[in-house]
Amino acid sequence: MDSESLLRKRYADSSDEELTFLARQGFTYVAWALLQEEMTRRGLPQPAPEVADVAVKTPYVSQPVFTGAGGEYFRIWSVNLLLTLSTLGVYSAWAKVRKARYFRNNTQLDGHAFDYHGNPVAILRGRLLALVLFTAYSWAFAFSKVAGLVTVLVLCSAGPWLVMRAQQFALGNTSFRGLRFGFRAQPRQAYAALLPVLVLWLSPAVAGVFMTEPWWLGWTVLGIPWMHHRLKAFQRGHASYGDQAFTFTPSALRFYAVYAKGVGFVFIGSLVGGLVLAALFAARRGADPIFGLSSIESLIYGGVAVLFMYVMAGPYYAARVQQLVWSRTRLGDVRFLTVIKAWPLFRLVFRNAALTVLTAGVYWPWAAIAMARYRIESVRVESAAPLATLAGGIQAAVSALGEGAADAFGLDIGL
């Protein structure tokens, strides 16, 4: 598909609010193309532009290509898993590097592949540190209040710095066209952005120690989208590629919208799923569909339905967050968009979940590849000039900030 038809399809797929959002970005090439298209659709005559500066040229749209294959990844996965288990987890750091290389090497943008350079020993160091912190946090309160509070204090004081280092490691070890990505946040910025998030996140655990019924702490749940937004803004806003900086346009409200949709979806879906399951089972036994069930049976069926919805809703929600985050991210004049439609995604997720369960987990590598292909190939990169032309103006970063840090220890925070 050429860039024009891609773009047309992209706009046809966009919601009204998304189009409005793009249009509000000012008269860039995107808005120009949109305007032209909309005018054609309505049969309006198209006047020649008076300002030559309004890029008349159509933006260039590139779609990343994922070339991974399930059968090949299956071989890597099984050998990785065996070595990890038989070394009691030590090999997991090497396995992580092989996996990251497989996915990055098989992702191509504009005909060039990404690469990963993480040092397994650094990752192992990071994993040990994470294990200690996680174990401490999970069990400290079981031993004593003081131990628990000390752990919370340690987490609060080290947390932002750790997230910063994790991001430096992940980006600093990823390369494209011979140049590294990077993360240029200062510790000061990390604490300013993330300390409030951590305090809010840990406050229920701390309050639960001192108060018997801190039900009112449920309000911290309402802060989760805000926390997620703040974290994403931090991770994207300080990212860089070569000497170019990424920018992130904040919008906490949109995170709330995505979360609200996700929660409503799980709620309605599990209600329907639970009722259908119960009716099926009851019909088989000839009892009243709802009230004929014993309480334990309805609990079990409801639980199965919720679990089912959770497995389905998780990837949907992740895709929506991906869409939102990318639409707010820019690299100079380069813009990113994600084209994800609910039904194709559901079919994929359902197929993955069903086959993984039916094959007792053996299908998992194929599922991971299919999911990666869907997510990677749904991204569109829009630029005013071909990417190869733009690349001529990008150089390696001069400042060495974060470069040494990228080698010290590799934390692997799945955020």
Binding site: A69, L83, R98, N105, D115, W364, A368, I394
Partner: protein
């Protein structure tokens, strides 16, 4: 005859723009030449870093000077030329490309997991529980009891003489079957219909008023306490905590990336099997306890029969694989056999 040349892209590591080059392998060296034929690099094959070969991904080659090469190498000829020139391949990659090894790895994986689940995790947890100092366990149990006290339990409504009678008879039995095992009997009350007793890590046994009232006969209460003492002697509480850590780690490793929530379901079901084993072990202990005190299993048997009936009325039958206790019928049968043995 000149060696075959392979098209590639060269990035200098300073700028992002690409340079089209031709690669060839001559006398154990990788030669990088510009399209006009000018030689840019001539590096010994041992000194270059090459990415793990994947079927559809390009070869990514790191040169010592900081430049990188990207060669499509669709047919794998470049890789073969480099291997012929003496480039080493990691044994792990060779394992991957050998189908028999992959099949073997899968079989070994399944065997390893089965062994870990059936034997390794219970053994490891058992070892750790008995190696762990008693103070750590007591701390865990004490902390757990204070949480339960704050949220769930009320103080017992039984008369002091009733409590003393139960405690004294229990102490006699404990001294006979588990001499030297430290335990602490705590009386508590919860909701009116909560019929339960439990053993916490560190030897705390909690007996709820609901159970004493429901049991009617004191012998049944003693049988249940003997069961809980079995949990204490075998350190089941601590082992349960340790096992959940072990199984959780393994499940996360296997399915963690797919969906963290889905990974927790097999963990929960997997742990129930351990729990049922513990309950059977504790039932054995309860029977030994009753024998030592010359008590009939009849009271305990009657207690379980009435529990089963009440459960059926209230919540219906639970399939065994979803239950943390052996099916009530199985337990009733065991105590019936014990009852008739005498």
């Amino acid at each position: 005859m000149s060696p075959p040349a392979f098209p590639a892209t060269r990035f200098d590591g300073v700028r992002a723009d690409a340079l089209a080059v031709m690669l060839s392998v001559e006398d154990g060296r990788l030669v990088v030449a510009a399209t006009d034929g000018a030689v840019l690099e001539r590096e010994p094959v041992e000194g270059i870093g090459i990415s793990e070969p994947f079927a559809n991904a390009p070869r990514l080659i790191a040169l010592p000077g900081g430049a990188t090469l990207e060669a499509p190498d669709g047919g794998g000829e470049l890789l073969r030329a480099l291997l012929d020139a003496g480039m080493r391949v990691s044994p792990v990659v060779r394992l991957r490309d050998w189908p028999a090894a992959v099949a073997l790895a899968l079989a070994a994986l399944v065997a390893l997991l089965a062994f870990a689940y059936l034997e390794g995790v219970p053994l490891g947890a058992r070892w750790a529980a008995f190696a762990m100092g008693p103070r750590l366990e007591q701390r865990m149990g004490g902390e757990l009891l204070s949480v339960l006290d704050a949220h769930y339990f009320r103080s017992s409504g039984l008369t002091l003489s009733r409590r003393e009678a139960i405690a004294t008879r229990f102490a006699q039995g404990a001294a006979a079957v588990a001499p030297g095992t430290p335990y602490r009997l705590e009386f508590r009350a919860a909701g009116p219909r909560v019929v339960n007793a439990m053993a916490l890590p560190g030897g705390v046994i909690v007996l709820l008023d609901g159970l004493v009232e429901f049991a009617i006969q004191e012998d049944a209460v003693l049988g249940v306490l003997g069961h809980e003492l079995g949990h204490v002697v075998h350190k089941h509480g601590t082992r349960q905590v340790l096992q959940s850590v072990g199984v959780g780690a393994a499940a996360g490793l296997l399915w963690g990336d797919f969906a963290g929530s889905a990974a927790s379901a097999p963990v929960a079901v997997g742990l129930l099997r351990y729990s049922r084993d513990f309950e059977r072990e504790a039932d054995d202990f309860a029977i030994a306890f009753l024998r030592s005190q010359n008590l009939s299993a009849e009271a305990v048997h009657g207690f379980f029969v009435r529990m089963r009936d009440r459960q059926r009325d209230e919540i219906g039958a639970i399939p065994e694989f979803l239950s943390s206790h052996p099916s009530t019928d199985e337990r009733i049968e065991r105590f019936r056999v014990e009852m008739e043995r005498r």
